[in-house]
Symmetry: C2
Subunit: 179 residues, 2 copies
């Protein structure tokens, strides 16, 4: 951030009066420009004992597998965002059944809010951000080809919970990929 | 938003190529300025069978009661944000025990992520955004003097769960205050 989105003057990085953290501040119009983490809403779409995964047709991690997830928009709930992403990426409607996980990703300042969703029909499709969409049983998940650590962590916990027949709600921090 | 925070040119409201929603776009440097909901991290601090509430010393809703909650910052997890707010507003350290609720507030584009926290000691204090801090048993919660609908909704569910001795993880939308 270099310029004030309110008045167009240059901003400076400083600690505003009464605060303790560095912020971008406009000294022309006094606006403090706060920056905050973004929510990625995700859904694990379920059909009988299988789950629906999408192969990414876009960067980053093109060609790798994920469950439907994306940035939450203004004027929607997290559940609506998760269902919308599922419709966009896998062309299927889901009924959001339960919250499954809230994971913080420090390096990228994202918080994943992930739900389990019951597919309203078995007819799914390949959305424009996907190159393939398939149902996987928990024993057939493509562990070596998952797009992000948070996808891996989420599906590991999902498979464990599914195996014992009881789903918890998970939270915590997910570490970035080793490079 | 009137000006591009990247280059200082005026932005326009338009649907970028390949997208479906109106965004603020800079036609000088082509930056798309996405706007997203913000996370408010909250904590219900517990001591034996009581919970800690703070009386707000700041607007909005000055003088009314809330549990510690505030905007999540960059470079922290939701749990760290909830614990930080508790330390700032009620001067007590908590151990985050479990996720309690994820509530979407459409009108203000906020998502509350609320945890239960075990107070590490009975010594709490009055933080600079509070005018009073007190432990309340579930039967003594000041229902008529709570700051926001989301506080009311959360504490209602909390008291219900506490009463039957089993805590669920809640999610959904919280409607704004009737005016």
């Amino acid at each position: 951030m270099k310029y004030c989105s309110h008045c167009g003057a240059q901003v400076v990085l400083k600690v505003p009066p009464g605060e303790t953290l560095l912020r971008f501040v406009c000294e022309a119009c006094q606006t403090v420009h706060y920056q905050n983490p973004k929510i990625v809403a995700g859904c694990i779409p379920e059909w009988e004992d299988k789950i629906l995964l999408c192969r990414r047709a876009i960067e980053p991690r093109l060609g790798l597998w994920t469950f439907p997830a994306g940035f939450m928009e203004l004027d929607e709930t997290t559940e609506q965002a998760a269902a919308r992403e599922t419709l966009e990426e896998a062309k299927v409607e889901v009924e959001i059944k339960s919250l499954f996980a809230v994971f913080s990703l420090l390096r990228v300042n994202q918080v994943y809010v992930i739900f389990r969703g019951k597919m309203r029909s078995q007819d799914f499709g390949v959305g424009h951000e996907s190159s393939d969409v398939q149902l996987f049983s928990p024993t057939k998940i493509p562990w070596e080809s998952l797009a992000f650590p948070v996808i891996h962590e989420t599906l590991e916990r999902y498979v464990e919970d599914a195996g014992r027949g009881r789903f918890d709600v998970h939270f915590g921090v997910v570490q970035p990929m080793k490079r």
